[in-house]
Amino acid sequence: MSKFIALTKVLLRAGTGSSSNKKNKKQVKGILLGLLLLIAFTPIAIEFGKFLSVAYDGLEGIGQEAVILAFGLSVVCVVIFFFGIFYAMGIFYFSMDVENLLPLPFKPWHIMGAKFAVVLIYEYLTELIFFMPTLIAYGMKSSAGVLYYTYGVVIFLLLPIVPLVLASIINMVIMRFTNIAKNKDRFRLIGGIIAMCSGIGLNIYVQRFTQDINQSQITEMFAEGNNSLVALVTKIFPSTNIAVNSLINSVNSQGFINLILFIIITVAALILFILLGEALYFKGVMGVSETTSKRKVLSNQELTKNTTQNSSLKVYLLKELKLLFRTPVYFMNCVLMNFLWPIFILVPLFVQKGDTGQIGEITKLLKQGNGTGIAIAIFFCFIVFASCSNGISCTSISREGENLFILKYIPMKYKEQLMAKVLSAVVLGMVGMVMISILGVALLKMPLDLVLLMIIVGTLGILFTSYIGIFIDLNFPKLHWDTEQRAVKQNLNVLLSMAICLAIAGVTVFIILKFKLTKWAVVALIVAVYATLDVVLYYLLGTKGAKMLRKIES
């Protein structure tokens, strides 16, 4: 046990990187960054709280107010499970410290457990955003007592464990069996995709499942009152049902029994995790960084093909893209994420059984004159969201890590190097956008001229987020990491970039909706504003950006 605790401490400390020079300046910047994020997310949290309060009043009328809790807990579990798949893969298998830990006299569960604890602590942050407001809002509205909050704290601490264990088990099984493959990197990528598909599959399953219950049944449940809907909402993660029951019955013995039950389930999940970890982990993780080699001499022809001359900008861009595609963690978090959004959005549209009601509605809307302006604005906002959340640009300096020095000694202008990084984000963003557009044409029968306009405004949006992203990373580069995971996933830059880009895009869309702009007015507005911003940012990248890069000393 002491080994487990010692290792957890070390891993946590390695994550915060508290041993760097220039501490004061960095601390100030860190605090500023925290404040900025706080300012960015406070309005969202307040709005969310208001929404919950209104929803509570509405639901209380029909005796279903606990649905709020059920919903909050379920959402948090789904989010944790889904991101847990990524986290677990990165931290258990792809982090570089694994190879240093393997020769030490640790049992598999020491390593797994310590890493699990680290992920768990990060998940508490997720809970802070997704669960805390719900918990407090419900408590305040129902004027709950001390017991409610005590139970709340226990549940807050235990809640992420079951979904995380599930995510880890999926990973352990997949990694155990892809480890036998020869080309490990590639098989691991496939493993990652399988893991993610199982996540999406579960999502679809749940959506279908909830739709299987027909309208009259739901009406019946509504009418029943007594929080009967909770059972429906918590079907996704059965253990959440018990947690909700424990919270809403905190005043009587039912609550206590349910709490104990919840603790038992969580402990059982942990035991299962440890047992499976002991059996599967080492076999899956050993040789995780091995790569295949052909050891074959290139023929004269191959050599000629491989030594063609390119411009430095092009070769640099290709290097960025190759590293993004070939590094499993980057591929999963940056490249795949970029293409996942369309799936996320479209899945709910298409899993509906029977009629294609919503799709029909959308198609109709797009044919109408005044709908197209809104459609372009929504598309623009969506593209901005997708391209700033992939984190390609806002981690492009961080991803260099200790190797940042290479940028400094090669004879290539800083401006060009930064531009190549921006372009890598632009290229991938555009591929994603074109993919969505093709889906739009095929499924929603969007007219081609509309799609063309969308691509124009989307491109300007992608350029914008990419410039913003790289400026954020130049300001807060995270260079001291021991695992690639930390460079992209545990990097606040992604959140910051999302906050800034979404706020600006949100204002744009707000103006469009407020003044009910027509199609051409929308296009003109976006093109004029964002083309100007992009040009200004391009200029700043060459002057201010280059200076900032020069100043970063790893």
């Binding site: 020079n21 091995e290 030594t307 430095s312 590293l323 004879p411 000393e553």
Partner: protein, 241 residues
């Protein structure tokens, strides 16, 4: 030729990593930069290569100032950093081609050079594989090849022998000598004294950021009026500081 004039560098504004050093690495010589761990060797090399900027002083490579005209100065040298773990997910050949593009080496020339370097370092059959699959020594070799693909006038090598097998180490030393014989310069750091003893025309000894000695090895022995081994002289010098 490299000229380092009155160069200072401190971290956090107090710990002086490099304390007012002056060095000239002439054309046609192999110059060894000696010193214990943490003496300031790598910091100096990082300033020469433009990775760090000096707090004060001037550094020129072939007469071009690294601060004022960085791009041109960087084209003058080939640099081998102390840790070869870079571009691990690129194939050997992709890395070499990347470097050749960055340094504007024409296709035909780069092909010839890559072939020649690969033969010399016995890396021909590894070029097609990702650098990640290489051993430490092979990584060191590919980084050296990348640094030399544009046939730079000045070689700057930080601990280049680390991890090389005897054969490759011998080849590298041979190449350093050939390069110097063409009246070009080689500036390398090491803490392996035997290496310095065998191939350096001149050496500088640095400790705690200060240059303790600069000259030929014979001068070093005379200076310390010692007939003992270089190791002994070195230990005495760096201990007494």
């Amino acid at each position: 030729m490299i000229e380092i004039i009155n160069v200072n560098k401190s971290y956090n504004g107090k710990d002086k990593a490099v304390d007012n050093i002056n060095l000239t690495i002439r054309d046609g010589e192999i110059f060894g930069f000696l010193g214990p761990n943490g003496a300031g060797k790598t910091t100096t090399i990082k300033m020469v290569t433009g990775i760090l900027s000096a707090d004060s002083g001037n550094i020129t490579i072939n007469g071009i100032d690294i601060e004022k005209n960085g791009l041109e100065a960087k084209k003058q040298f080939g640099f081998v950093p102390d840790n070869p773990d870079m571009f691990l997910r690129l194939k050997g050949i992709e890395y070499l081609n990347f470097m050749a593009d960055i340094y504007d080496v024409p296709s035909k020339l780069r092909k010839e050079r890559i072939e020649a370097l690969a033969n010399r370092f016995e890396m021909s059959n590894a070029l097609i594989d990702q650098i990640q699959s290489y051993s430490h020594g092979m990584r060191q070799k590919i980084v050296i090849m990348g640094a030399l693909v544009h046939e730079p006038e000045v070689w700057i090598l930080d601990e280049p022998m680390t991890g090389l097998d005897p054969k490759s180490s011998y080849v590298l030393k041979e190449m350093m000598r050939e390069h110097a014989n063409r009246s070009k310069s080689v500036f390398f750091s090491t803490h392996v004294l035997e290496v310095a003893e065998k191939i350096c025309d001149r050496v500088a000894v640095i400790n705690k950021g200060k240059i303790l000695f600069c000259g030929t090895l014979d001068e070093l022995r005379q200076h310390f009026k010692a007939s003992g081994s270089l190791e002994k002289i070195f230990l005495e010098m760096t201990d007494n500081e």
